[in-house]
Symmetry: C2
Subunit: 418 residues, 2 copies
């Protein structure tokens, strides 16, 4: 009866674990959920799931409740022993066992007493990771704990593989979009890196505006693809250095309409279905004189209004063959002057709230390694509004002078000539 | 004790169901696995999972063990009733219940006696589908069956949503690749539809050669992207109608190397990691005089050798502004003549085994609706080898004449002028 009761309780817990972990498809979160479940089911102090990276032959894990990833060669330590032999290790007294390495305890101040470690196998029987649990609350880990961990391990393996499959596909798609965007930008030397940068600016706007995760994703994909239509614009027109004729100008403006018609052929699902419209509407103006559709203010999707601001900002702050960057205070004045005709005030104002260190990071996206950390952190307290105020102060304070000078050092790219 | 035993057995079964269904991420297969599990756990004759399509407000399902999809308005029948009210329906005698529609039994010859139908809810509590089980083997469905079905339903809902998420992302990516390929082809009017067609030819080759599913997927993606590098080729050169200069010709040939270097930036995972190399090697020749790398025979990946054959076939059978298609027997002779210098004999021979109806389907990809079914099925018994033999026969048989004439009718696109 005791056995039957125990078995019953075990089944109930396992079913709960199965149901809980099946809800999570994001690998990071999934690992955390699994570790929490194991801790609670096995009544122990710590649980770590190590995932085997076959290519690099390493085990890695997110430290529970921490942000850092740990990684080590796949044969090291207790976990490495389990990954190599495929056998369960149940150690009642860690310090009496040769396989235990006390150095980590020394570093962390933790005191390991009992250890239960088990391999995680996929449906093909291949080892894909290792469970390691520490310090059973009450005594040491039992044979029953071994059985339970084995069952959770099997359930987890499938879910981890599903999550990896999903993430890999997402990563492939994302890197594809990025590569495509930069390829299209590269057709016109003046716009190299443009789509990448406006995607980054848009992400900063999303932070300031507290957009939802879904909106952020739509904004990100729309930003990457907003100039996709340029793929259909004739190169001779795209790269012409002389003044464009009226018909050439019209042809270039068509890129926005091309963006829409091409992206509409893509089988976007869920919230991403808005991407073609949002991406294509980045040249609409609130006064209705924009293109391709000549939409008026409230007809323009919010996310397109955001793209409109960052698109112009990037154009003004990019170097052209015939000039250096427009002075920064003029850029901000130009955006401000566009309020009510070109831009929605909300999004110009949001843009002006992005901190200067974040802006510099994107402006100097191609050589971030040249940014000094101390300079960046001194700019982290200021936004564009502060900058313009400092710039226009009739009697600037010492700190205002420093702000202007630090920012200008990078913005004018003087370090590139020094 | 009976209760405890029952509960115990139920937990054991549920855990098995959870583990079984968690292994399947392909929606079609998943639905079948779920239906089989329910039948076996509830000991009944049939189980159907209906999935709610919110956009079209329809319920759909694959008929168990059948290929056909059934679809109907989301308020119809027992399943519709459950989807609308969110309540479980347990009918001990179908023919005595008003909600039961006996017409389907009449059509199928099946005799429905007992029905248990339950909603399937996701973690947000939204109804995403309906379970319908028919004819409990022994008596009618019990309250315990209702509980069990409810638990399976909850487990299934998560897994179905995960599979949908995964499939949607895959669909978006695939349609993206197709759209991109056709956009690139469209830059050169001579090659419109080219990537799409060679992807289809490659799929036929895969069938003839019995490639594995993984190889097929790598071949498909490589075929779609083989000319991606053209995005970096200057348009003036790409579309030049006069004879190319040596340096222009070299620039065009660079598209293969561009394909490799651009695709290498993409975070392909698993087998797809071979895509950049395979896609870029479609102009390699077995005698080592190809490009970009001048690989020799066994250095050229098998899938690139397949692409080489279908790439040339498509070029020869495409209309050019200055000529119609090359006569079909000459196309086949040209491929054959390339064996040992340009092509690996295995893949020319495989190509020649593709049935003529399949070839016509792809050759006339843009107006398949003009192909007569009777003509196609009369061509389904012949391949290119048969065609050339018939064409060259000094005294062709009646059926050989018919074969040539039927194929030519479409190949020469005479119907477009008649």
């Amino acid at each position: 009866m005791q056995d039957s009761h125990w078995e019953h309780e075990r089944l109930r817990l396992l079913l709960k674990v199965a149901s809980t972990i099946s809800r999570e498809m994001q690998l990071d979160k999934l690992l955390r959920v699994i570790m929490d479940e194991v801790k609670s089911v096995l009544q122990c102090d710590r649980c770590t799931v190590f995932v085997l990276d076959r290519e690099r032959n390493e085990l890695w894990s997110k430290v529970a409740h921490g942000e850092k990833e740990i990684r080590f060669a796949a044969h090291l330590g207790i976990a490495g022993h389990v990954a190599t032999t495929g056998r369960v290790i149940n150690i009642p007294d860690a310090y009496a066992d040769d396989r235990f390495n006390p150095n980590i305890d020394k570093q962390t101040g933790y005191h390991t007493q009992t250890i239960l470690a088990a391999p995680m196998r996929n449906k093909l029987g291949e080892i894909i990771g290792v469970f390691q649990t520490l310090n059973k609350h009450d005594g040491h880990f039992t044979g029953e704990d071994e059985e339970t961990l084995d069952a959770i391990s099997a359930l987890s393996a499938t879910q981890i593989e599903n999550a990896q499959l999903y993430e890999n596909q997402k990563k492939t798609f994302d890197s594809f979009l990025e590569t495509l965007a930069s390829t299209i930008d590269a057709r016109d030397p003046l716009t190299a890196g443009h789509s990448q940068r406006i995607t980054l600016y848009a992400a900063e706007m999303a932070q300031v505006l507290h957009l939802s995760e879904k909106e952020m994703e739509v904004l990100r994909v729309s930003a990457l693809l907003h100039d996709y239509g340029k793929i259909a614009v004739r190169e001779a027109v795209l790269t012409k250095e002389d003044r464009l004729t009226e018909s050439e100008y019209k042809h270039i403006r068509n890129h926005a309409a091309y963006t829409k018609s091409i992206l509409e052929k893509i089988n976007f699902t869920g919230a991403l279905r808005q991407v073609p419209l949002i991406a294509a509407s980045h040249h609409e103006r609130v006064d209705g004189t924009g293109y391709p559709a000549g939409l008026v203010d409230e007809q323009i999707p919010k996310l397109s209004k955001i793209l409109a601001v960052v698109d112009v900002f990037d154009a003004l702050t990019s170097k052209r063959h015939y000039r250096t960057r427009m002075p920064f205070h003029e850029v901000i004045q130009t955006l401000t002057a566009g309020i009510g005709t070109q831009f929605d005030p909300r999004y110009v104002n949001a843009f002006k709230q992005i901190k200067l260190d974040r802006l510099l990071h994107i402006l100097e996206h191609e050589h971030v390694d040249l940014l000094h950390r101390a300079d960046l952190s001194s700019l982290a307290d200021y936004d564009s509004i502060d900058y313009v105020a400092a710039f226009q102060a009739p009697f600037p304070l010492e700190q205002e002078k420093r702000l202007i000078m630090t920012f200008q050092t990078y913005y004018l790219q003087q370090y590139l000539n020094g």
